[in-house]
C-alpha cells in the first residue's frame, strides 16, 4: 500500500456523513415539469436532470472520477422507497449523520410535494385490503413485520449513487457491453430500432417509449462524464504539482472519451466501469459481476505494451475500494437494527471457469485479493468461485485475506451454482457466467435478475403450527387450523400437519412477493439497467416488464430451518419414539419458555442436533429443505416462471429469532436462530468442522439459488501456509460433495471474551496451542485468559 492510498484511507475516518436532498429536489422538479408524460420517460428525465445538474467534485489524490452524492461521503435521500419522518431524521442526527437546518426544512416540503408516491404505500394499498395477507405481513413471517399501511416496516432510505433507485433488486448488467461498445453505440442502436418501427403498426407504443428513455439516459451519462472532464481540466490548469497535473489530465481525457466510446486501455475501462456502477447505485446490492474477466483484456493489452505495471494496477484497485466504501447507505431505525448500520453488498465475483469450462484465474484475480488484504477496507465484497481446477495458490491467497480477519472472500462452488442454472433451463455456457448479486444470490449477467426476496421465518411458521395456526405473538389467526398438536398420535401425523401449515404460509409468502413484483414494475422502470440486459433494444422492454431467459424474479429465503429440523428431531425422538415426555408437557414447557422445566430443556438440548454428522437429524433437515424448495417451485411468479428458493440468513436470524417463541431444540423465546442456512445452531456442533460439512452435504443444495455456511476458526489454525493449504482442501472436499458456499470468520479477542461469559453459545470454538487442540470453553479460566491475550497479540 503506497502513501497516497494510506492518506486516503486516513481521510475515510469522518465523524458525520451528510444527508443530501439534491437528488430529491431535482427529481421533484422534473416530476412537476413532465406531468402527463409516460412514466418511463419521466424517470429517464429525472436521471438526466440529476446527471446534468448535481454538484460534482474531484477530491484530493483521487485517481479516477465520479461521486455518488452531491457532497463528499454524502447520502442522497431515497424518496421513492419510503418517507423520512421527523422522528427518523432526529434519530439519524443522533447517530453519525448530519443534515443542515435549511435542508431539513426543505426535506419536509419535498416530502409533502412528493405525496407518498412510494413503493411502501403502493404495496400497503394491496396488502392491507387482503384479509389473508394482512395478518401475514404484520406477523413478520416475512421480515421485517409491517407496522402500518403507509409506513411499512418504518423509515426510508438514504443512499449514495446517481441511478434511479431504489435498486433492491439484484441485477448483473452487461458491463462488457459498456466497456467495449459504449453509450454512443447503444444510442445509435436504439435510434435505428425506433426508425425501423416508426412506420410499422404492429410495434407498441411501450417499445417506443422504452427506446426513447434509453436514448435519454445514455446521453445523460455522456453529459455527466463530460462535466467531469471539464472539471478535471479546470483543476489541472491551476495545479502546481506536475505529477498531479498529469493525473488530472488523464482523468479529463478518459472522461471525454468514455463511457461514450469503447474504452481503449485499462484506465479508461476502469473509469467507464465506475460511471456505469454509479448508475447501478443507489443499491445496497449492486453487483460488479466478473470484474477480473471483463477487465482482463484491457489489463493484458496495457501490460504487454508496457503501458502499465502491477503496482499501478494495484493502486487503482485499492483506490476502487476507497471509492466503493464512500458509497453509503442508511435505512430507518428498525432496519438499522436488523442490518447493523451501513450494511451493503457490492459484490465482485472472481475466479471460476470460463464459458468453455477452463480455469478463469488471471493476474487480476490475485490483485483484487491483494488490494483487499492491503487496505483492510471491508467493501467491496469479493466472492471467489471455486471449481475442481482452481489453483491451490489462489485458494491460499484468498485464505491469506481471510486470515487478516476481513471476513472475505466468500467461497462458492461452481459446480453447484452451474447446476442450479442448468436445472432452470439455461445453457451450460451461459450458466458458467453466473455471478453474485447481493450477498450470494446467483444471477447471470444480462440474462436474469431477482426482484423480490421474502425473508421467510420457518421457525415462526413452526411456532404458529404448534399453536394450531394462531400467531402466538398477537393471538391472531395467520395460518390454517392444522389441529391441536397434543392430539397427534404419531410423528408422521405431526410432521404431515406441520408441512401442511408450512405449505399454506409459503403460499402466502409467494402472494406477498407477487404484490411487490407488480409494485416494483409500476414504480421503478429503469431504462439504464434495462438497456444493459440481453437483446434490450430488440425486446424494447423494461427489465421488470419482460420475462427473462431465466425467470429468477421472485425468491423466498428460508430463515431458521435448522432450528426447526433440530426441533422436529427432538420431538420425534423424545415424544414419539422414546416417549420420555408427553406433547402436553412439551407444550407447557415451551409456553413457559422452559422456566421451571430446566431438566426437560436439558433433555431437549441433548437430543440429536444438525452439524454432527448424525443421520437421524440431518435427514430431517434435508427433507425440510427439499419440501420448501419443491413446494415453492410449484407456485407462479407474477413475472412468469416459478418461485425460486434460497437460504441465506444474512442477519435475519436475529430478528427472526426475536419473533419466535421457545422451540423444542432447547432454544429460548426470542433467542437468535442458527445463522446462514447450512450452519448448525451455535454451540450445537461438537465434532468440529468436518462433521458440520458432512451434515451440510446431506442437503440437496443444487436446487437452491444460494446457501450459506459460516465457519469459525481461531487464528491458531490459520498460522502457516500449510494450515491454509489444509483449509483449502477442506473447502474443496465440501464442494466436491455437494456444498455450495462457505465463508470463514476468524475468531477475535471479543468473541473469546464472550465465550467466557456465555460458554453455552460458544462450545464450538477450538483453539490450538502448539500441537494440542482443545475446546475453548472447557479450558480453565487462567488458560483461557492466556489464549485471549495471545489472540490479541496474534502470537498463537
Amino acid at each position: 500500500m503506497n502513501d497516497r492510498i494510506k492518506r486516503m484511507i486516513d481521510r475515510l475516518k469522518v465523524d458525520k456523513y451528510p444527508l443530501c436532498i439534491e437528488k430529491f429536489r431535482l427529481a421533484t422538479q422534473t416530476l412537476a415539469e413532465t406531468e402527463g408524460e409516460p412514466y418511463i420517460i419521466r424517470r429517464a428525465k429525472i436521471l438526466s436532470n440529476v446527471l446534468n445538474n448535481i454538484n460534482i467534485f474531484i477530491e484530493q489524490d483521487e485517481l479516477f472520477a465520479g461521486a455518488g452524492a452531491s457532497k463528499p461521503f454524502g447520502l442522497e435521500i431515497d424518496y421513492e422507497y419510503g418517507t423520512w419522518t421527523q422522528d427518523e431524521i432526529d434519530s439519524l442526527k443522533q447517530e453519525q449523520y448530519s443534515i443542515t437546518a435549511q435542508e431539513e426544512a426543505e426535506l419536509h416540503v419535498l416530502n409533502a410535494k412528493f405525496n407518498d408516491r412510494n413503493l411502501v404505500s403502493a404495496m400497503g394499498e394491496v396488502l392491507y385490503e387482503n384479509e389473508r395477507l394482512r395478518p401475514f405481513i404484520t406477523s413478520g413471517l416475512i421480515l421485517p413485520p409491517w407496522k402500518g399501511k403507509k409506513v411499512g416496516s418504518g423509515g426510508g432510505y438514504a443512499q449514495s449513487g446517481l441511478g434511479l433507485g431504489p435498486g433492491f433488486f439484484l441485477v448483473g448488467v452487461d458491463y462488457e457491453k459498456m466497456l467495449s461498445e459504449g453509450s454512443l453505440k447503444i444510442i445509435s442502436q436504439a435510434q435505428e430500432e425506433l426508425e425501423r418501427i416508426k412506420d410499422s403498426n404492429g410495434e407498441s407504443l411501450e417499445k417506443q417509449n422504452f427506446l426513447q428513455s434509453v436514448i435519454i439516459v445514455h446521453k445523460a451519462i455522456i453529459a455527466f462524464a463530460n462535466r467531469y472532464a471539464q472539471l478535471a481540466q479546470e483543476i489541472a490548469s491551476t495545479e502546481k504539482d506536475s505529477t498531479r497535473k498529469k493525473e488530472l489530465e488523464r482523468i479529463a481525457q478518459a472522461c471525454k472519451w468514455v463511457p461514450a466510446n469503447p474504452a481503449r486501455d485499462f484506465f479508461e475501462a476502469l473509469q467507464s466501469f465506475w460511471f456505469t456502477f454509479l448508475l447501478i447505485c443507489p443499491s445496497p446490492t449492486s453487483a460488479a459481476g466478473r470484474f477480473d474477466q471483463y477487465m482482463y483484456p484491457f489489463y493484458k493489452k496495457d501490460k504487454n505494451a508496457g503501458k502499465i505495471n502491477d503496482d499501478e494496477v494495484l493502486e487503482l484497485l485499492e483506490f476502487l475500494r476507497i471509492k466503493n466504501i464512500k458509497l453509503n447507505r442508511v435505512s430507518g431505525k428498525a432496519n438499522r437494527k436488523k442490518n447493523s448500520g451501513m450494511a451493503k453488498w457490492h459484490n465482485w465475483t472472481i475466479g471460476g471457469v470460463t464459458r468453455d469450462g477452463k480455469d478463469a484465474t488471471n493476474e487480476l484475480t490475485y490483485l483484487l485479493l491483494e488490494a483487499a488484504k492491503q487496505t483492510q477496507i471491508p467493501h467491496h465484497t469479493l466472492t471467489l468461485r471455486v471449481h475442481d481446477n482452481t489453483p491451490i495458490e489462489l485458494m491460499q491467497k484468498a485464505l491469506e485475506v481471510i486470515r487478516t480477519g476481513l471476513g472475505m472472500p466468500a467461497f462458492v462452488n461452481d459446480k453447484s451454482y452451474i447446476e442450479f442454472f442448468r436445472k432452470n433451463g439455461l445453457s451450460l455456457e451461459d450458466s458458467r457466467e453466473y455471478i453474485m448479486t447481493g450477498c450470494l444470490d446467483g444471477n447471470i449477467p444480462a440474462l436474469s435478475r431477482t426482484v423480490s426476496i421474502g425473508m421467510f421465518v420457518v421457525s415462526l411458521a413452526f411456532d404458529i403450527f404448534m399453536h394450531n395456526g394462531i400467531n402466538p405473538n398477537n393471538d391472531e389467526l395467520v395460518g390454517i387450523n392444522t389441529g391441536n398438536v397434543e392430539d397427534m398420535e404419531t410423528y408422521q401425523e405431526f410432521k404431515a400437519a406441520f408441512y401442511k401449515q408450512l405449505e399454506y404460509l409459503l403460499d402466502l409468502a409467494g402472494e406477498r412477493n407477487n404484490v411487490e413484483l407488480l409494485a416494483q414494475r409500476q414504480f421503478f422502470p429503469d431504462p439504464f439497467r434495462s438497456s444493459l440486459m440481453k437483446d434490450a433494444i430488440k425486446e424494447g422492454k423494461d427489465l421488470l416488464n419482460r420475462k427473462m431467459p431465466f425467470e429468477n424474479g421472485s425468491v423466498i429465503c428460508t430463515i431458521g430451518a435448522i432450528n426447526v429440523a433440530d426441533s422436529l428431531a427432538a420431538v420425534k425422538k423424545l415424544v414419539y419414539e422414546d416417549k420420555k415426555v408427553t406433547m402436553k408437557e412439551l407444550v407447557a414447557a415451551l409456553d413457559a419458555d422452559w422456566t421451571g422445566y430446566e431438566d426437560l430443556r436439558k433433555m431437549f438440548l441433548n437430543a440429536p442436533k444438525y452439524g454432527n454428522d448424525d443421520d437421524y437429524v440431518d435427514s430431517i433437515a434435508a427433507d425440510l429443505y427439499k419440501f420448501v424448495e419443491q413446494t415453492l417451485a410449484k407456485k407462479d411468479s407474477a413475472y412468469g416462471g416459478k418461485i425460486i428458493t434460497t437460504a441465506i440468513s444474512i442477519t435475519s436470524h436475529q430478528p427472526g429469532g426475536a419473533l419466535t417463541g421457545a422451540t423444542p431444540d432447547g432454544r429460548r423465546k426470542g433467542e437468535i436462530l442458527a445463522d446462514g442456512s447450512m450452519s448448525p445452531m451455535h454451540g450445537m456442533d461438537k465434532k468440529g468442522p468436518t462433521a458440520i460439512i458432512k451434515s451440510a452435504c446431506k442437503i440437496d443444495q443444487d436446487s437452491y439459488q444460494a446457501t450459506l455456511l459460516n465457519m469459525k476458526f481461531h487464528p491458531s489454525s490459520l498460522k502457516t501456509n500449510e494450515d491454509l493449504q489444509k483449509l483449502s482442501f477442506l473447502i474443496k472436499a465440501y464442494f466436491k460433495n455437494g456444498g455450495k458456499h462457505v465463508q470463514f470468520n476468524v475468531i477475535d479477542k471479543k468473541t473469546l471474551q464472550d465465550a467466557q461469559i456465555t460458554p453455552e453459545k460458544h462450545r464450538d470454538i477450538v483453539v490450538r496451542v502448539a500441537g494440542y487442540s482443545a475446546y475453548f470453553t472447557v479450558l480453565g479460566k487462567e488458560v483461557q485468559d492466556e489464549v485471549i491475550e495471545r489472540t490479541e497479540l496474534n502470537l498463537v
Binding site: 496451542v769 502448539a770 494440542y772 487442540s773
Partner: protein, 313 residues
C-alpha cells in the same frame, strides 16, 4: 481381509480419551487424531495428565462450580465434600459412576475417557474419508502412549489400512521392540518424540531411560524403513539447552537421516491447569512459554545440521 478377522478386530476394546477431527498438526493432510489413554512416562511438563491413567477419570472445572452442592446429594460413595464454597472429590472413593456429572447444572463435571471398540473408532475415523482423500490425510493415533494398549492400537491401525486410510502414530518410542514392531506393521508414518538426549536427564524428567527409545528410533527408520518425523517438545530449563539441542540434532542427522523433518513443540501450560482439574497433587513444575527468539535460535541450530524444521506440529 476376511470378514471374520475384521469382525474380531472390531470387537477389541480399549480406552480413548478424545477423538479430534480436522487435526491439522498431527501429520500430513487433514487427519483424525485418536487419543489413547495410558502412559508409562511421567513427564514433569505433561500437557495431557488426563492421559496418564488408563481408566476414565473425573474432570472437575472448579472455576465453573458455584458450590450448589447438588453433586454431594447424589454421590452414592460419599466421595464429594464441601468446605465453604470449595467442593472436593475424594478420588479414592469415587467410582466414576457419572451421577454428579448429570446433575451438575453448571457443566463443571465431566468424565474423561471411555471404553470403546476398535470398530467404533473405525466408524468415527472413516466418516472423514472424503477429507483424507482430498488432502492426502488419514488417522493419527496419539496418547498417552499408543504402545500401552498395543493390541487395541494394532486393531485400529489394521482396520484403517483395510479401508485404505493413511496411518500415523505419535509415540514416545518407549516399549519393547516386539510390541512396537507389531504396531508398526500397519503404520505408514511415525511421529517420534525426542524428549532429552542425555539419559540421566531423561530419567529425571520422564521417569524412564531413553536407551530403548533411541534404539527403537534407529530400528524403525533403518530396519523397517518407515518414515519418521521427529518431534521435540521445547521445555525451558529442561531440554532447551544448546548442548541438548545439538546432541539431539546430531543423533537425528547422523544416526537417522538428514532428510528427517523436525517439528518443535513449544511448551504450553495446559497441563498445570489440568492437574488441578483432576484434583491431583501437582509435581511443582512451573514452566514458561519459550519466546519466539528462543524458538528461532533452536531452529537455527537444528538447521545447521542440515535438518528442516517447523515450529508447531
Amino acid at each position: 481381509m476376511e470378514n471374520k478377522r475384521i469382525h474380531d478386530l472390531e470387537e477389541i476394546k480399549g480406552f480413548v480419551f478424545d477423538i479430534q477431527h480436522y487435526a491439522i498438526h498431527d501429520g500430513p493432510g487433514i487427519r483424525t487424531t485418536v487419543f489413547l489413554s495410558g502412559c508409562p512416562l511421567k513427564c514433569l511438563w505433561c500437557q495431557n495428565p488426563e492421559s496418564q491413567e488408563l481408566y476414565p477419570q473425573l474432570f472437575f472445572s472448579y472455576d465453573k462450580c458455584t458450590g450448589c452442592g447438588k453433586c454431594i446429594s447424589v454421590c452414592t460413595q460419599n466421595a464429594i465434600s464441601q468446605n465453604g464454597s470449595v467442593v472436593q472429590t475424594d478420588r479414592n472413593l469415587c467410582k466414576i459412576c457419572g451421577k454428579c456429572v448429570t446433575i451438575c447444572p453448571n457443566e463443571a463435571r465431566t468424565i474423561i475417557g471411555k471404553e470403546i471398540t476398535a470398530g467404533e473408532v473405525l466408524n468415527e475415523v472413516s466418516s472423514d474419508k472424503m477429507f483424507y482423500q482430498e488432502s492426502n490425510g488419514g488417522v493419527t493415533l496419539s496418547g498417552g502412549e499408543v504402545l500401552v494398549q498395543h493390541e487395541f492400537s494394532c486393531a485400529i491401525l489394521e482396520l484403517c489400512k483395510n479401508e485404505n486410510i493413511h496411518t500415523a502414530i505419535e509415540t514416545s518410542g518407549y516399549g519393547s521392540w516386539e510390541t512396537l514392531k507389531n504396531v508398526l506393521t500397519f503404520t505408514d508414518l511415525v511421529l517420534f518424540d525426542f524428549k532429552h538426549f542425555d539419559d540421566s536427564e531423561h530419567i529425571k524428567f520422564t521417569g524412564v531411560s531413553n536407551e530403548t527409545i533411541l534404539e527403537n528410533a534407529k530400528k524403525i527408520y533403518h530396519e523397517l524403513k518407515i518414515p519418521i518425523v521427529a518431534r521435540l517438545p521445547i521445555i525451558p530449563d529442561c531440554n532447551d539447552s544448546i548442548m541438548n539441542i545439538k546432541q539431539t540434532a546430531n543423533f537425528i542427522s547422523t544416526m537417522l537421516d538428514k532428510l528427517i523433518k523436525v517439528h518443535l513443540l513449544p511448551y504450553n501450560n495446559l497441563g498445570e491447569q489440568k492437574h488441578k482439574n483432576l484434583e491431583q497433587s501437582w509435581n511443582g513444575f512451573s514452566g514458561t512459554i519459550p519466546s519466539d527468539k528462543k524458538m528461532n535460535e533452536i531452529t537455527k541450530i537444528l538447521e545447521s545440521y542440515g535438518l528442516s524444521v517447523k515450529i508447531g506440529g
